[in-house]
Symmetry: C2
């Protein structure tokens, strides 16, 4: 394997215009070498060994090291280079000969996504009056929150933490998203808030359990409905002081089962100086308390990812303002909050960090939030459940018995 030149370091061919980059899988490629060989009588499969050369080349020997022929299935090729014949460099049409269409997979996946749509489930946590409903409405430019969906505004604060979900299908550019907003009324609103994260943790785990049961069913749905919480917006009250014990306790306890994105709520109650100072303090406290929020450093895929996420982590937690009212500013209608001393424009980056939060949450990391939920949080839950069960899947029949979590 080690004598195979990885695709990255091979010289780029001068022609054709869309050259297929072909090489045997190498350790530096995203495809780790797998034991493709399978055992068993009469069946042999030598590992990938040779570098193919593009066809249609008239100078195959040019720069190409051919491995010796081997018949018995033993890899013997020592391909050390890769060259292209230059003989068709002068012909105009030769470029097309090289195009296969591998990159059309992107378009094929786009079409499939346009047909199926996708699920996204967002949870909001924080005590009452921090603008949770308004913020999700602002994020999704529509009345998607629980309060907008028929609940009375003057609804009493529940005596224990409740979990309320409301779902809507939102379509944009032909892409359908089934958005579920999971609200947690009652959180932090009691005299004694001991264990008030428990109903929330329970809900998150129940969704994992539901998914696990579907996954281990003998007859599975083509697409398992995904009710798992992909993202939890945690609303830090803009006290100007420090994090409360409830804040750190909640985030610490939940950060290993859900992607927590802390935000500083109602940031317009602070001047820019106060905001900056408070933010620094919150950042420091999150760090000293060892709270890992999304995007977690340990899950950065590569250096590019790390660099992008470092920039985001640097400005987190976002100090945000939400609004579902439009106002006229310089002949434009903007979402904002009108006061006698001016209009706070929620999407103006000089006024608050809402636009940064929205770009991060929806436009750059939404797919990643779903993948981290599936690959990390769900996998952690699943491994724990299976270990409890002595390595056996808790196969459920159709009349599903409740999990005893």
């Amino acid at each position: 394997m080690s004598d195979v030149v990885p695709p990255e370091v091979r010289p780029k061919p001068a022609v054709p215009a869309k050259p297929p980059n072909v090489g045997a899988p190498s350790p530096s490629s995203p495809f780790p070498p797998q034991g493709l060989g399978i055992g068993g009588g009469g069946v042999s499969a030598p590992p990938p060994s040779a570098i193919p050369v593009p066809i249609g080349s008239h100078a195959l020997s040019h720069g190409v090291g051919h491995g010796g022929g081997h018949a018995g299935g033993h890899p013997a090729a020592h391909s050390v280079g890769h060259g292209h014949g230059g003989s068709h460099s002068s012909t105009g049409g030769s470029a097309l000969l090289g195009y296969i269409g591998i990159d059309t997979i992107i378009e094929q996946m786009r079409k499939k996504t346009m047909k199926t749509g996708f699920d996204f489930n967002i949870m909001v946590v924080g005590h009452s009056g921090l603008g949770k409903s308004t913020l999700v409405n602002t994020l999704f430019k529509s009345q998607v929150s629980r309060k907008s969906a028929g609940w009375a505004r003057d609804e009493k604060i529940p005596k224990t933490v409740e979990i309320k979900t409301v779902s809507h299908v939102i379509e944009e550019g032909g892409v359908k998203m089934k958005l579920t907003v999971v609200d947690t009324p009652g959180f932090g609103d009691q005299i004694n808030n001991d264990n008030c994260w428990e109903p929330i943790s329970k809900y998150i785990n129940e969704q994992f359990e539901k998914f696990l049961k579907e996954e281990v069913n003998i007859t599975r749905k083509k697409r398992i409905p995904d009710t798992r919480v992909h993202c939890c917006l945690y609303f830090i009250p803009p006290t100007g002081h420090c994090l409360r014990q409830l804040d750190t306790e909640f985030m610490r306890r939940l950060s290993h089962s859900v992607n927590i994105i802390p935000v500083i709520a109602k940031a317009d109650t602070m001047t820019m100086e106060e905001r900056l100072e408070f933010k620094q303090r919150v950042k420091k406290e999150l760090e000293t308390n060892g709270i890992e929020f999304y995007p977690q450093k340990e899950f950065d895929d590569d250096m590019e990812d790390k660099s992008d996420n470092d920039k985001i982590r640097e400005v987190m937690p976002f100090a945000v303002v939400g609004s579902d009212k439009e106002h006229q500013v310089n002949s434009k209608r903007v979402l904002g909050r009108k006061t006698p001393w001016g209009i706070i424009e929620v999407e103006n980056p000089n006024h608050c960090e809402f636009a940064q939060l929205r770009d991060f949450l929806i436009r750059s990391h939404l797919q990643d939030l779903k993948e981290v939920t599936h690959n990390i949080h769900y996998e952690t839950y699943r491994a724990k459940r299976l270990n409890e069960n002595g390595g056996l899947h808790p196969i459920s029949s159709n009349d599903t018995q409740e999990s005893n979590l």
Copy 2:
């Protein structure tokens, strides 16, 4: 649920330019209504019920039916319409207010695919001399076949069917595909070809078993290596007569575990008239023998899918010619076969149906081939295995015991 207007039939708003299409999930949407409510003490979750209206609208009552407020979690909304305020139709900037960014999911998925790449595994079956290696080389514009990868051309025909795999990473437009070509030398080449599909069926099932074992492991890989055969090109010899019993037997036996795409090999040995006649005969025989090939009618997703696939099924099996040699035709270099009476251009649709096969296999259905393999063939295998096992997953430890298939 029934009184909720599905997104499709709601009147299109005149403004904004990129209006989010928002509605409660309805039976006609791709998201079937799910029981989102979860039971359990203190937790209540009413089903999605109301249609949200876009925020920022100054005429909320215009065309909007509001449901009565409800406090106890009982759905009571009777939203029957959906309107947009016209008040901001005159302002230029209002369009932007409506954009959320849901459709950026496509770009996010593209980026992920560019990073991870994907696997594609193609099997070729047919007796020796039908141009199997040449055809895969032509499809992927490079020497990807077994014979090109170091095996001697004069290799003897094995005495039993063997399975030989060779893998390469091909990159195009920044997308990396790990292509594995699974060759089956010896198939149909014996005096007695009884059961010669068995090693092939065994290989296909072994890949399913491998995947299943990875899938049920307690600690799973982030991405399970996919060695499952996504597509099996079956080469029908251009006899001009009818299908041989071996052809029908192979296809019938394997069609429920792999996507079979039958092709008429070396179509240049027949005149256009002979080809048409042979093709019609083969089509009829496939039909009378009840052989289902890919794309299978029963897996058409919707009417659009059906209509597209009907057109493809109509022209199948493709009569193809492969070539890995370039020739000059009208100052263009084309892949073809040069004879004293002319050059057979493999990508010329007037000469053969190679281009149609390539477009179908790579440029329009590659992702679907992978999905049908996963959702249908693998699921069938998995269900069978689990049923054999009394509904329990065959959880494997790290030192995997061999399956007894």
